[in-house]
Every structure is written in structure tokens, then in C-alpha cells.
């Protein structure tokens, strides 16, 4: 199965949720999270491969800008027209408060301290809402168990 954590950016809270899902992160310390705040990876629009869990589920993140639910609808329609079901592809939207601030600073010019502001703002916001991301992952795990 493939799982896409969908958010306005693919390298911030969606990435943290993906790492929680893969069992790589159990406390809000993002220093060793590969690709965290790496906005370059996000520009193309292609899903970013994060890893595979012990059950063989391949986990991706995808940043789609402001309208996450619209993108979710498109991807689910695409899945349907290509003849697949939720058993092959799960699209999981991830939201936190202040995610627009994260997106704003991730686009802030580098010469005005963009990199620094990007890391600072997203670390602060995601650390404070880490439990929300854990809950998203727990809900997803529950749904996946029901699917099997």
C-alpha cells in the first residue's frame, strides 16, 4: 500500500507525521529528521518518498499549497479513474494551526533570513502541536487496521 501525507507543504508537518507513522519519531525533536524544512524538495510538486514501514507500506509526503482538501479530492478521483482503491493508495490530509505561517516563511527570500525563519517558525509551531500529529497518525493506523 502507498500512503501520502498531504499538506500545504511536503517538508514540514506532513513530513513529521510521516516520520511518526514510520516509528522514527516519538518526541518533538526534529534535529535528525531528514529533509525537514527543505523547501527545495517541495518545489516540483512530485510526492516525496519518506520510507517504508515493517508491513511494506510505502510512505510519501506531498505539498499542494493552500487548498489541501481540493487536492485530496483530485487525487482520490485520479485513484478511482486509474482503477485503484484505498487499499492501494491512502491520501491522508494533515492540518495544524498556523500552517499558513509555515508556508509563508518557507517562501520568504533567503537573503532576508528565509531559511532561519522557516526553521524557527515551523519548529515552534509543530513542536507545540506534536500531539495533534500523533493523533492523526493514530487515527490513520486505526483505519488501516480496519481495512485489513
Amino acid at each position: 500500500m502507498n500512503i501520502i501525507f498531504l499538506s500545504n507543504t511536503g517538508t514540514h508537518h506532513a513530513l513529521i507525521a510521516a516520520n511518526i507513522f514510520l516509528g522514527r519519531l516519538d518526541k518533538p525533536d526534529f534535529r535528525y529528521v531528514n529533509g525537514f524544512c527543505d523547501t527545495f524538495q517541495d518545489h516540483s510538486g512530485f510526492p516525496i518518498y519518506i520510507g517504508e514501514d515493517e508491513e511494506g507500506n510505502r510512505v510519501y509526503t506531498l505539498g499542494v499549497g493552500k487548498d489541501v482538501l481540493m487536492a485530496k479530492k483530485s487525487l482520490e478521483d485520479l485513484r478511482y479513474l486509474l482503477g485503484f482503491t484505498e487499499k492501494e493508495l491512502v491520501v491522508e490530509p494533515v492540518f495544524i494551526n498556523g500552517q499558513n505561517i509555515i508556508m509563508f516563511f518557507s517562501r520568504w527570500p533567503k537573503f532576508l533570513g528565509g531559511d532561519h525563519l522557516n526553521v524557527l517558525s515551523s519548529t515552534y509551531l509543530i513542536q507545540n502541536q506534536f500531539n495533534i500529529l500523533q493523533r492523526v497518525v493514530d487515527n490513520l493506523r486505526g483505519r488501516l487496521q480496519n481495512m485489513h
Binding site: 501520502i4 510538486g45 512530485f46 510505502r58 499549497g65 487536492a71 483530485s74 487525487l75 478521483d77 485520479l78
Partner: protein, 157 residues
């Protein structure tokens, strides 16, 4: 193959391109406003249609043609769709085509007035004029898309 034409609202340029692809519009001349209005979905969508991939028809090579309104997500959306299809192992089964580069100001302003503000009587003629002006550019885009489809078909064969 599945061909998805996408634009901002999924109601003007993508619909026109899809109709051209399916032979619903003439290729040798600009269509009249009546001919444009006769196309399914032309200037006839609402907010709930954003993000929905809607079926338009099947062409003579059995390619299935769809349209999609993706708001201001730009050309990245082609990659979003292609990337997701790649994940599923069927990247060669879809072709996402962004029609936005062919959209002119008449279409943008007319579309805004007709769809967003809801003054159809004012917006629709503007959209019609804009679509007529962009028509041959859209036809070229469709030709390029059809060639790409044939290319992929030959590669697979």
C-alpha cells in the same frame, strides 16, 4: 490513456481544449459563442467542482479525456498527478495538460465576472471573446497532446 486538461476553474480553457480533442468543435475556424455554450460544462461550474476530475469523452484512439479545475496551483499540478500515478505504477497511463498558458485577460476577467461574481450576462460574452481569441493556440496545444499520446502508444507497442 487518460488525458486530463486542467485550468483554474475547469470551465473554459480546459473544457475548450477537451472539446477540441474530442472533435466537438471545428478546427478550421473559430467557434461561435453558441457553439462554445453547447459544450458540456462550458462556463457552467461552481465551487464544488474544484478538484473534481470530470469525464468529457473518449477519442477515436480510446483515450479517455477529462477536465479539472485546480485553482491557482499552476503547472505543479501536472507533477502532482503524474507523481501520484507513478506511485501506483501507472505513470504512462495519464497525461496531464495545463491549459493556463493559453488563457488571456478576456477569459480571466470574463470568467471571474461570470463564475465568481455570478453576473453571467456580462461575463459570458467576455469569456466567449477571449476563448475565440485563444482558440488556435488551444488547438495547437491539443495537437501537441495528441502527438504525445501517439508517441506513448508507439513506445508501448
Amino acid at each position: 490513456m487518460n488525458i486530463i486538461y486542467h485550468c483554474f476553474g475547469g470551465s473554459h480553457s480546459s473544457v475548450t481544449a477537451a472539446a477540441l480533442h474530442l472533435g466537438l468543435l471545428p478546427r478550421d475556424r473559430r467557434p461561435t459563442l453558441e457553439e462554445l455554450m453547447a459544450i458540456p460544462y462550458f462556463d457552467n461550474t461552481d465551487n464544488s467542482n474544484f478538484g473534481s476530475i470530470r469525464f468529457m469523452g473518449v477519442d477515436e484512439y480510446e483515450n479517455v479525456v477529462y477536465i479539472l479545475g485546480k485553482k491557482s496551483l499552476g503547472n505543479r499540478y501536472s507533477n502532482v498527478l503524474h507523481g501520484t500515478a507513478e506511485i501506483l505504477g501507472v505513470g504512462d497511463q495519464i497525461l496531464a495538460v495545463n491549459t493556463m498558458p493559453n488563457v488571456n485577460w478576456f477569459m480571466k476577467i470574463g470568467g471571474f465576472i461570470s463564475r465568481r461574481i455570478g453576473i453571467v450576462i456580462l461575463g459570458r460574452p467576455l469569456v466567449g471573446i477571449g476563448t475565440q481569441q485563444a482558440y488556435f493556440a488551444l488547438a495547437s496545444l491539443v495537437d501537441a497532446t495528441r502527438l504525445q499520446c501517439m508517441d506513448r502508444r508507439q513506445v508501448r507497442a
